[in-house]
Symmetry: C2
Amino acid sequence: MSRAGAIKPESDHILDRPMGDTDGIDFEIIELLFFAYRDFISDPDAILDTSGFGRAHHRVVHFVNREPGLTVAALLDTLKITKQSLARVLKQLIDSGYIAQVAGPEDRRQRRLYPTERGRELALALARPQSCRIAHAMEGLGDDGRAAVKAFLSGMINPATRGAADDQDDAMEGHER
Amino acid sequence: MSRAGAIKPESDHILDRPMGDTDGIDFEIIELLFFAYRDFISDPDAILDTSGFGRAHHRVVHFVNREPGLTVAALLDTLKITKQSLARVLKQLIDSGYIAQVAGPEDRRQRRLYPTERGRELALALARPQSCRIAHAMEGLGDDGRAAVKAFLSGMINPATRGAADDQDDAMEGHER
DNA sequence: AATTTATGTCAACATAGCTGACATATTCGA
DNA sequence: TCGAATATGTCAGCTATGTTGACATAAATT
């Protein structure tokens, strides 16, 4: 039924020329990023399907393992999702024994999040294929090429976010946010 | 209620050491990719919110503009989603006048997809901030650095996908898939 | 004429995001 | 010390976007 009407829309100003590089836009990198990221997350996705978890769980497990003891607020800030959204997956991860909560030593309102051994194993299992993929993609590159990749990716990140990401080796204890 | 039980799970083997670079895993790039991609799609997301569309629409509009006349089957293959999933957003885009369908000249079962001027404008508007972000991230890099970035991103893509992405300038007419 | 192909469509479901409202425990400031 | 602010949890419902399975139609192929 929608068939007959759609056949010859000659009035609709149809364009048949590809949107190309005449517009000064770097479509190549845009598409490379799309495909690269899609395949990049397909590796952990396959593992997660087995465990009954999803990408949301992946992110939580990852960051809790990267910064044991981080607060719920800090995690929310990193993930940029709502607490209701986090609550769902976090509860499952705690109930399944991948993550444990401990009341904050100073501020006992806080629930600091720690990985269990099980949680650590999962995080590592998820990171491994991604690391392999990265290593493969870096294969042909020299130190300067690798540095360029890091500089590029850093430059893609918003300043506010970048602040947190750059300080990945700092504890930043004392002012969570 | 879940409060009392969660405070002191000393039996649970809690880990307080960050999952670090002792495991031979490149967590830095993993996180850079996560943040970079998140911010990368936040630009078009903001525009799409205005139009009442979402990321799914973005992808469809993008690829139809990049390869006008592509078939539904080819688009499904690029996006790697089901036809039912595509149908929803495609219908909206057609109804709103962003994309037009034309029966295939040779095989009239095909619905070849073309952008309208409106669709082209939307695709460009969505690509522009992404291109700016990329240009900014590339700023400090020389030609070799830029080449390294492209090589890296290409290397991150699965071979099957990479085939299609590499041929982006080919018409590939005659064997859609 | 029968089958395969390209596409569309209906129905039901899952994941993961969202808003809004409200509860509880704890800390902090006046 | 009391009231406000903070950190977190939770209930209820909505949206976007993916999934599977089943079936319909038109056109091409054999």
